[in-house]
């Protein structure tokens, strides 16, 4: 019996293999966790930034002193001006307006400030304090009072005008900003056939206003915060109060308050500072220029973050399937909506896997190609000196170059460049025997598929991953592609965006949510909001 057992004990290398099978993934996951911890230095573990102490020269109320302080301050601000005048007609009360050229609206200062104050009668009710009298005579909507020069100058430099009056402590800050109006054109990167021709612009108030215009709704809350240490900017958090999960709203506030950057030039900075995993190749926050997309997301119970100075709004939490949806899916009837949505999922797979499948079929698994196709592939590859991987890399890299170059080119040259690059070089490369015509077809189909993905940044992720999968295919063939795909799936199901699984309703398996996942169910059937977002108010309709 013992002999029989001993005879069946496998040899030592089998044990070694078994150990490797266990230890390698463990090691890889440990390394991943460490790298992640390093990349996330400022994030979840970071402490909220302490409030900055606002110290500075207090405004005393003595006009000459205060003016001197201001003059000293503006020595280094060539774009700030001071206008001295007297209140009323011959009242002898000295005053001055400090304003920034270009940021403050000159006509407003002329008419609503200078003209109003110069023509007003300040003798009328002497028992009312002067500050009160000045305010009463100022036909300006936004006013505020400010006690020290440092703070006042900060406001002046973003477009407020400061008014100092002899004998009044502090300064009046007047909201006389000059807007830089831009048309709210339809965004170029997210065009639709059917849908409102409106996009966000660079003005935060315009952007929040568009959201308001979607309909009267008292529960659309818009909160304001400031981000940036040296260059502060307004950021707005928008959500529907009785729909959005309060935990998500709190999380957004918390993460925004932790941002500790010098400046925030674009919402991409915010995106990168508040996302869950910096190492993931996938965008975990959706950015969009389309108000209808933002409003749709709000209605599902998501939260939007809008930054002043950029037309790109952020939507959290994001799921992978969101990036493959287009507002048109809902605007058109449900059958075409469903069809095109399925088509996009297909396009995603093609853009990720087509070149790597080509490589693995050509260099590892000739048996998987239909016999007739084998004949033509062999015929077309006779003169190609490279292996399939090198061949595919040559063409794929040149396509990516073309795309990148096309972005930089002035608009009139763009199409010409496409023709020269795509047609001429492609044709010539085939003629010269550098690549095979079949590969040209594969790469072209890949490129077209990646254009079918409605979101630019998810397209970028898959363009990157395509190269990884091509290398896997070049080294291990189909086995490598499958391993790559499995690794990708493992990563995807592991990823979360603000507490919501990134792989959408697929992985936490809320079958209820599938009606708006691969297919787009008729509107009549979509009675509930997505359950994965844990909305406060799950019923949408009926």
């Amino acid at each position: 019996m013992l002999k029989w057992i001993i005879a069946h004990i496998p040899s030592w290398y089998l044990f070694l293999q078994a150990a490797a099978v266990g230890l390698v993934p463990y090691g890889v996951s440990r390394i991943g966790a460490k790298l992640n911890a390093m990349a996330m230095f400022s994030q979840p573990n970071g402490k909220p930034r302490p409030p900055e102490e606002e110290a500075g020269d207090p405004l005393t109320g003595n006009f000459d002193d205060d003016l001197a302080v201001f003059e000293q301050w503006i020595e280094n601000y060539a774009d700030v001006g001071i206008r001295n005048f007297e209140l009323g007609v011959d009242s002898g009360i000295k005053a001055a307006v400090i304003y920034a050229e270009g940021l403050s609206d000159r006509t407003v200062i002329d008419r609503q400030v200078l003209q109003a104050l110069m023509n007003a009668d300040f003798e009328a009710s002497p028992d009312v304090p002067l500050a009160e009298r000045v305010l009463r005579r100022l036909p300006v909507l936004k006013t505020m009072e400010c006690g020290n020069v440092r703070q006042a100058m900060g406001q002046v430099l973003i477009g407020w005008a400061a008014l100092i009056v002899d004998g009044v402590q502090g300064a009046f800050m007047l909201g006389v900003f000059k807007g830089v109006p831009r048309q709210m054109d339809e965004p170029e990167s997210e065009g639709l056939i059917r849908g409102a021709r409106v996009g966000f612009n660079e003005n935060l108030h315009d952007n929040t206003a568009i959201l308001r215009r979607f309909g009267e709704n008292q529960s659309l809350f818009i909160l304001k915060m400031k981000v940036g240490r040296r260059a502060k900017r307004n950021v707005a958090i928008a959500y529907i109060e009785d729909v959005a999960d309060p935990a998500i709203v709190e999380e957004v506030k918390k993460r925004l308050s932790r941002i500790d950057l010098d400046s925030v030039p674009e919402s991409g900075y915010i995106e990168q500072m508040i996302e869950d995993s910096s190492l993931s190749p996938f965008p975990q926050i959706q950015s969009t220029e389309r108000p209808d997309r933002v409003f749709g997301a709000l209605m599902e119970g998501r939260v939007a973050v809008l930054l002043a100075g950029t037309p790109f709004a952020l939507i959290v939490p994001a799921t992978l399937s969101m990036f493959l949806q287009s507002p048109e899916d809902y605007f058109e009837r449900w059958l075409p909506g469903t069809m095109f949505r399925l088509l996009r999922f297909f396009a995603l797979m093609v853009s990720l896997l087509a070149p790597s499948l080509y490589i693995s079929f050509i260099s590892f698994h000739p048996g998987l190609i239909p016999t007739k196709l084998t004949m033509s592939i062999i015929g077309s590859r006779v003169n190609v000196p490279f292996t399939a991987l090198v061949e595919a890399l040559i063409l794929e890299v040149s396509i990516e170059l073309l795309r990148e170059a096309g972005l930089r080119l002035p608009k009139p040259i763009g199409p010409a460049m496409g023709i020269v690059g795509g047609l001429v070089i492609g044709e010539a490369a085939v003629q010269a025997g550098i690549v095979s015509p079949i590969l040209v077809i594969v790469i072209a189909v890949t490129a077209i598929s990646s254009f079918a993905i409605p979101h630019y940044n998810i397209g970028l992720s898959f363009r990157m991953l395509r190269f990884v999968s091509m290398f896997c295919a070049g080294v291990f063939g189909l086995f490598g592609v499958i391993m790559f795909f499995l690794a990708l799936c493992i990563h995807l199901v592991n990823l979360r965006s603000f507490g919501v699984p990134y792989a959408g309703p697929l992985v936490s398996y809320q079958f209820e949510d599938w009606k708006d996942f691969l297919v787009r169910a008729p509107l009549a059937a979509m009675k509930r909001r997505p359950q994965m977002l844990k909305p406060k108010q799950p019923i949408r309709k009926g």
């Binding site: 260099s363 590892f364 000739p366 048996g367 016999t371 015929g379 292996t387 085939v430 070049g474 080294v475």
Partner: protein, 388 residues
């Protein structure tokens, strides 16, 4: 940073390891030759250079096969395939022998046809001849197996050079809905089962006539010896197809005894049920054949095409014709070849398992003595478009 350095060196090591390993089993498709057909013959040449009992002919696609060459011009080479012959005592040995002559190793994934010459199959067990093809994991179980009554590698040379014989052979077997003289496809996978199970079978016989391929009859393989015992003619294959009801279409013609002119019946469906009966050691079978079809040609009495009486008479005529055909065929395999290729044994095994256990040891002899009755019923449900 210490941790950074450690992690970096680990990642570097892993990637270097991957890169060093390279592309293990990578072999570009244009560096391979695609094997599409194999013919097995007896080696009859007496010179010393070609030793061995077998003469193996392999057919591979040539690289110039496609009109889609890199120049984009449609210059087609004269032949899209090449045949190579090697000899050896075993199939694999002979195929590996080819490596001395070509820079591109053949791959078996696309093998379409295996042709065994009747001469070879008479003296060698199919189990041995096809062993390599059944074991090799590249070769698909969908490859078709044929016998050839002539020399097997002659079917790989056709008059029209742009036609690829192996594809052609595979294509002919797909015409079963046009004629009933074709047996159900004998794929490697199916044959494997029959060989291992020891049952007899029929393999289609492919020959060359006037430089063209023709599927003509079938070879009878006895299950016990796995050797060829003889050939069936085209008419007899037709009988087999009717007896087993395995046809998908085809025609049956008969001559009207009154006018001595032909009539043609087109098969829409055919069906056959074999029942077995056992009494002691005597076994008997009942074959009942049912078919529905239409009258497609009437040379005899065109004016009566839609006359029910006439059609009923013709039905009898066709039934008689089919009955004769089937009985002749059964007679031949029973008396001459003593080989059960029609699946009677299978029915017995299913219906009378105990009797089968008793009889299976020398089933071929029992089968030869079995009493087989046949009845045929057809229905002409349609006579096409006729003008009265």
């Amino acid at each position: 940073m210490n941790l950074w350095r450690r992690v970096a060196s680990l990642v570097l090591g892993l990637t270097a390891g991957l890169m060093l390993a390279g592309c293990w089993s990578s072999k570009e498709i244009d560096q391979l030759s695609v094997l599409i057909g194999v013919a097995l013959d007896r080696n009859e040449s007496k010179n010393a250079a070609s030793e061995g009992r077998l003469e193996v002919t392999i057919q591979t696609l040539t690289t110039g096969a496609s009109s889609l060459n890199s120049q984009g011009q449609g210059q087609t080479t004269s032949k899209p395939y090449i045949n190579m012959i090697a000899t050896g005592n075993s199939v694999y040995e002979a195929i590996r022998e080819m490596s001395l002559r070509t820079d591109k190793p053949p791959i078996g994934h696309h093998l379409k046809a295996i042709v065994v010459s009747a001469d070879l199959a008479k003296h060698n067990s199919l189990e041995n001849l096809l062993d390599f093809f059944m074991r090799d994991n590249d070769i698909r179980p969908g490859s078709l197996v044929f016998v050839s009554s002539g020399q097997a590698n002659r079917v790989f040379e056709l008059k029209r050079s742009e036609e690829i014989p192996s594809f052609h052979m595979a294509g002919i077997t797909e015409n079963r809905y046009r004629t009933s003289k074709i047996l159900p496809p004998t794929t490697l996978g199916k044959i494997k089962g029959e060989i291992k199970g020891g049952s007899s079978m029929l393999l289609p016989n492919i020959i060359v006539r006037d430089g063209k391929l023709k599927l003509s009859g079938a070879g009878v393989i006895r299950g016990k010896t796995k050797k060829l015992v003889g050939l069936l003619s085209e008419e007899e294959v037709l009988g087999v197809v009717w007896a087993t009801g395995s046809g998908k279409g085809g025609v049956m013609s008969a001559v009207d005894p009154a006018t001595k002119r032909p009539l043609v019946y087109e098969v829409n469906s055919m069906h056959s049920t074999i029942r077995s009966f056992v009494s002691g050691d005597r076994v008997s079978f009942n074959v009942s054949i049912r078919s529905i079809g239409r009258m497609m040609e009437n040379w005899s009495k065109p004016e009566e095409s839609s006359n029910q009486q006439f059609l009923d008479d013709q039905t009898k005529l066709f039934e008689r014709k089919i009955l004769d055909l089937v009985e002749q065929t059964i007679e031949k395999v029973q008396r001459q070849y003593k080989t059960d290729v029609l699946g009677f044994g299978d029915r017995l095994r299913i219906e009378h398992p105990r009797a089968w256990e008793r009889l299976k040891a020398n089933w071929d002899e029992r089968f030869a003595e079995a009493d087989i009755r046949t009845d045929v019923k057809i229905r002409i449900e349609d006579y096409g478009l006729v003008v009265e």
